[in-house]
């Protein structure tokens, strides 16, 4: 492989990892506060539709972002209303969000845009432009390693860098702030949080609100950066893969980042590895590479490579006892 190929592989790894990273961070926040989120897939899909529809109708980037944020936070608040306020089953809630989103986006898409559920191609005005794009002649004359890095890391859109910057931010929020300490305590021992006079309810709602914001960003990325328009079922299981990455990263933002990059790399490499004969293994079927993230997550969950420990109170609705 030459340095250009390495660079493009690095670049496509980053690009496919971004929605995974954003959703995995969203999952981290809600799950560390004790609320299971199997609805990442649905939240991402519905916010992507919101962003795509708003961008197609108004042709304005801020409006597209705003609509996606409203949709994402509203879904998270519904999540909280059902599961935090009314102690509904969190797993069922996630399935409900994902199933409803899968149907609703197509129904509304067909009714509003008459293109089989797609939105029209979005104008350049709402698309996210590349940042830090190095001049072409500079790349041509750069030494090999620098050239690969430049191709891989520069010239992405703002969301790529934002996703990467959000990882330490979420880490800092969870690990180094009073809010984060309380949030994690709500996921481990909510009775203690309650006894300390802090509302478990409020903490979990706050975690869900941030979760909604991050899911919206992932949805926006899909329509405003990665694809030219909204396409039905465009999340294609990425929400579940992000969930797997979050578990693979042991519910830690930084761990989740590495898992997302690994899964993203497998995704990006799967196409290139198709039909390639690896020494000692033979030709690797592309499906095996696609299934690998899920297999690895199962193996990790089974405790064969380290131990993934979920927050203690994960999935347990908190009932304040009088």
């Amino acid at each position: 492989m030459d340095d250009v190929a390495v660079g493009t592989l690095l670049a496509s790894t980053l690009r496919v990892s971004v929605p995974l990273i954003l959703c995995a961070l969203a999952g981290c926040l809600s799950e560390r506060s004790g609320v299971i989120d199997l609805g990442l897939e649905g939240k991402m899909l519905l916010t992507a539709f919101g962003a795509g529809a708003a961008a197609a109708v108004f042709g304005s980037l801020p409006l597209a972002l705003a609509v996606a944020l409203i949709v994402g936070v509203a879904l998270s608040m519904l999540h909280g209303y059902a599961c935090v306020s009314h102690r509904g089953d969190q797993v069922v809630m996630g399935m409900a969000i994902t199933m409803t989103a899968a149907g609703l986006t197509v129904v509304l898409g067909i009714a509003w845009f008459h293109q089989g559920g797609q939105t029209p191609g979005l104008p350049d005005a709402v698309r996210l432009a590349p940042w830090f794009a190095p001049p072409a002649e500079w790349i041509d004359h750069a030494p090999p390693l620098l050239k690969a890095l430049a191709i891989g890391l520069l010239g992405h859109n703002v969301m790529v860098y934002a996703a990467l910057a959000l990882v330490p931010l979420v880490w800092w929020l969870l690990a180094r702030t009073r809010f984060g300490l309380r949030l994690r305590a709500a996921g481990e021992n909510p009775a203690m949080v309650d006894a300390a006079g802090v509302s478990v309810q409020v903490l979990r709602y706050a975690a869900l609100a941030l979760n909604g914001v991050l899911c919206s960003l992932a949805g926006c990325y899909l329509v405003l950066a990665q694809n030219p328009s909204f396409i039905p079922h465009m999340t294609a299981g990425r929400g579940y893969m992000a969930l797997a990455a979050m578990i693979f990263g042991k519910w830690q933002p930084v761990g989740a980042l590495w898992a997302c990059l690994l899964f993203g790399f497998l995704d990006a490499a799967a196409i290139r590895l198709q039909g390639v004969v690896l020494p000692g293994i033979g030709a690797v079927p592309v499906q095996a590479i696609q299934a690998l993230p899920y297999v690895m997550t199962v193996v990790l969950l089974a405790g064969f490579i380290g131990r993934a420990r979920a927050p203690k109170a994960l999935g347990v609705p908190y009932a304040k006892t009088h």
Partner: protein, 372 residues
């Protein structure tokens, strides 16, 4: 519950679920309005499409057959205290089992020998696919919800690899196996009725519908009327008490998940053998997830599940008809309703309970003095 009193049983078992279902329908009606259609017209056409003709009824029953299998699968696991989201993958494996038996034997062997073997293979393959997450839950403590989701994706990769690399006929552009031999032909209803001299329109409805009915009865008998079923429910209801009573939880997890996977696997008989006569990529298309909705509104009981399956069968069939009748109506409306049902009858099932209770007790108070 902070409602200040228990709900009467009939209110909890009948009125509350109907209220939740009504809410889901109302919200879906709102979506229909937003889309610019008349909800009442849609409803009328939907009922007409599902029940208005013999062919409509046949299709309704055909869809319902698949939902009975996946709905029972969710319910059995639920009674064992487990949430099996892997119906989708288990159904795919069931289809693979069906297809492997059919492709290997159906060319020479007679149907009376191949059909039972296909049913067995579908059940065993589905069971095996559920057994891995079950074992990991039992012995390694891995959460079965997460592992079954992962297994759905692994199953879909396995199915696509198998079809593209092993079973696809050379020269065929579509990704599917060759057609099964005559021995794997599941008699269709119209063929059986023609044998009796009754003319019935062609539809995919086949003998699997009886298999589904039998499964519902057997699940009822097994779970509610036998010792293993009692132990299964005991573990689901009170795991600690069950363990104290000498029931081994590991074995029970394997049992309930195995049974659940076997039921989901039977989808393969209805879809792969009964309808298509070949293995395809997308014969499951959300049936496993629909099973969650079916089980939720069927309240995890075989009778409820059969009724809910008929409802969903009617929705799927009516929805397909509507997509033909009304321009701009998409079958995805039915998937939306399905999601809304999971939302209102599942996740938010208890939200309305306090309000209903307050209403009920105020009615009761006003009513009591008048009647002494």
């Amino acid at each position: 519950m902070n409602s200040g009193g228990e709900l009467p049983r009939w209110l909890d078992l009948v009125v509350l679920p109907l209220f939740n279902l009504g809410l889901a329908l109302a919200v879906c009606g709102g979506v229909v309005l937003v889309v610019g259609l008349d909800p009442l017209q849609v409803l009328a056409l939907l009922v007409q499409g599902a029940f208005g003709s013999r062919i409509g009824i046949s299709y309704t029953l055909y869809y319902a057959t698949t939902f009975v299998f996946t709905g029972l699968a969710v319910a059995v696991a639920f009674h064992g205290g487990l949430f099996n989201i892997g119906g989708e993958g288990q159904a795919m494996l069931g289809g693979i089992g069906t297809a492997l038996v059919a492709l290997a034997l159906a060319d020479q062997w007679p149907a009376w020998l191949v059909l039972p073997l296909m049913v067995l293979a579908a059940a065993v393959f589905g069971m095996a696919w559920a057994a891995v997450p079950a074992a990991l839950q039992a012995w390694r403590g891995s959460h079965v919800v997460i592992t079954t989701i992962m297994f759905n994706f692994i199953a879909s990769a396995l199915l696509s690899w198998l079809l593209i690399n092993v079973l696809k006929e050379p020269g065929n552009m579509t990704v599917e196996s060759r057609s099964f031999g005559p021995g794997a032909h599941v008699p269709a209803l119209h063929e059986m009725l023609a044998g009796l001299g009754i003319e019935w329109p062609r539809s995919p409805l086949n003998l699997s519908v009886l298999l589904a009915a039998a499964s519902a009865v057997l699940v009822y008998l097994l779970v509610w009327r036998t010792r293993p079923g009692y132990m299964l429910r005991a573990v689901g209801f009170a795991p600690e008490a069950a363990r104290y009573a000498g029931i081994r939880p590991h074995a029970q997890i394997m049992f309930s998940m195995g049974l659940s996977g076997a039921l989901a696997g039977l989808v393969g008989i209805n879809e792969v053998a009964g309808t298509h006569g070949r293995l395809l990529l997308d014969y499951v298309v959300g049936a496993g997830f629909a099973g969650i909705a079916v089980s939720l509104i069927g309240r995890n009981h075989p009778v409820g599940i059969v009724l809910a399956s008929l409802l969903f069968g009617a929705l799927y069939q009516g929805g397909a008809e509507l997509a033909f009748e009304i321009a701009g109506f998409s079958r995805d409306m039915v998937f939306t309703l399905q999601g809304l049902i999971v939302l209102f009858s599942g996740a938010m099932a208890q939200v309305a309970a306090p309000t209903l209770a307050r209403a009920w007790f105020s009615i009761e108070r006003r009513w009591r003095p008048a009647h002494g």
